[in-house]
Amino acid sequence: MPKVKIKRKGVSLDMTAMCDVGFLLLTFFILTTKFKPNEAITVDTPTSISQTKLPETDIMLIQVSKEGRVFFGIDGQYNRVAMLEKVAGEKGLQFTDRQKKAFSLMDSFGVPLSGLNSYLNMEPAERAKVEQTGIPCDSLTNELQSWVLQGRYSNPKIRIAIKGDKGADYKVIKNVINTLQDQNINRFNLVTGLEAKPKEI
């Protein structure tokens, strides 16, 4: 077979179109992206066939980790400060403006009230290293109850969602649900992953 001689020449591609598409995609991703808040714990949610989406705003999220630690968070920085002030007033605690500011930036937290003061004094980097013990919510000391109550006062439109790890003990979930039911909250959402619906039953 005769060798085909290819004439060497500088490959010159018109990249304008590719460039256009590239920047279009880039713009799209920059605008749609929402950075994952650095969560204090990783919660592996169970899956369900439910299709309902979780609302993005006005959410009170109660997270339960695998070991049964309870974390609490609401959205909106003003709501967080309002909630902290109300809880502090209820429990007779004092927080400085700096601590309130630090609190307003936390998506979720899992420290008991007794440790909250020193926890808020830490630098953010330091805070990430601390092993949070979770909010007590058993029948002896139920701090979750006041957080939920004051969180609801701070934002009356708030919806409550429970995000539990699939390996979490039902005992803890039961405590959380009982806490909510004591305040006559009988409707709430459970955060789940997506699972395909079985075709035949």
């Binding site: 699939k166 979490a168 409707r187």
Partner: protein, 180 residues
């Protein structure tokens, strides 16, 4: 090299004289950067919002039972440890007497089949609604996943009437017979 050539592209050589200084921008670094950023944003973005399941619990403050369910129309499902499910029809005392507690699991032929079977066994009322009422009782040893799974089964089997109620000691005693 990538060149922005307006006159057909690629054929003009060094020696060719150009009249106008047509823009010849080397776009390679820009494109490189753009795609690098695309990759970054694509990988960090979280597209799917989490799903959620709505849960309605029975009202604790309301004392009066609107409609007492017939014992023969209630299917009690107990969630035990290690993903085990127990079930019985009727009251726990009767079940104890007849030794009627059954053990099953979350597979397709497990609790789902039972629920469907019992739904058809118990028939429908005059409005065409199935008579069955599923009572879910979870033990402390069961996992959160079990609870979500059983609620899922309720959706799959289209059982509209179900309730999560606290477990009683008599129920726990019933399950002891499988512990041996």
């Amino acid at each position: 090299m990538a060149e922005m050539a307006e006159d057909g592209g690629g054929h003009d050589k060094k020696g060719k004289k150009k009249k106008k200084g047509s823009p010849r921008v080397d776009m390679t670094p820009m494109v490189d950067l753009a795609f690098l950023l695309i990759t970054f944003f694509m990988l960090t973005t979280t597209m799917n919002k989490p799903q959620s399941m709505e849960l309605n619990m029975p009202d604790k403050t309301e004392d009066k039972e609107q409609q007492p369910t017939k014992a023969s129309h209630s299917l009690t499902v107990l969630l035990g440890k290690n993903d085990v499910v127990y079930w019985y029809v009727g009251t726990p005392d009767e079940t104890k007497k007849n030794d009627a507690l059954e053990k099953t699991d979350f597979s397709k032929d497990g609790i789902r089949k039972t629920i469907l079977q019992q739904t058809s066994n118990m028939g429908v009322n005059e409005k065409g609604i199935p008579n069955i009422v599923v009572v879910i009782k979870a033990m402390d040893e069961s996992k959160y996943k079990n609870m979500v799974d059983i609620l899922d089964e309720m959706h799959i089997t289209n059982s509209k009437r179900y309730a999560i109620v606290p477990i009683e000691t008599v129920d726990i005693e019933l399950t002891k017979k499988f512990d041996i």
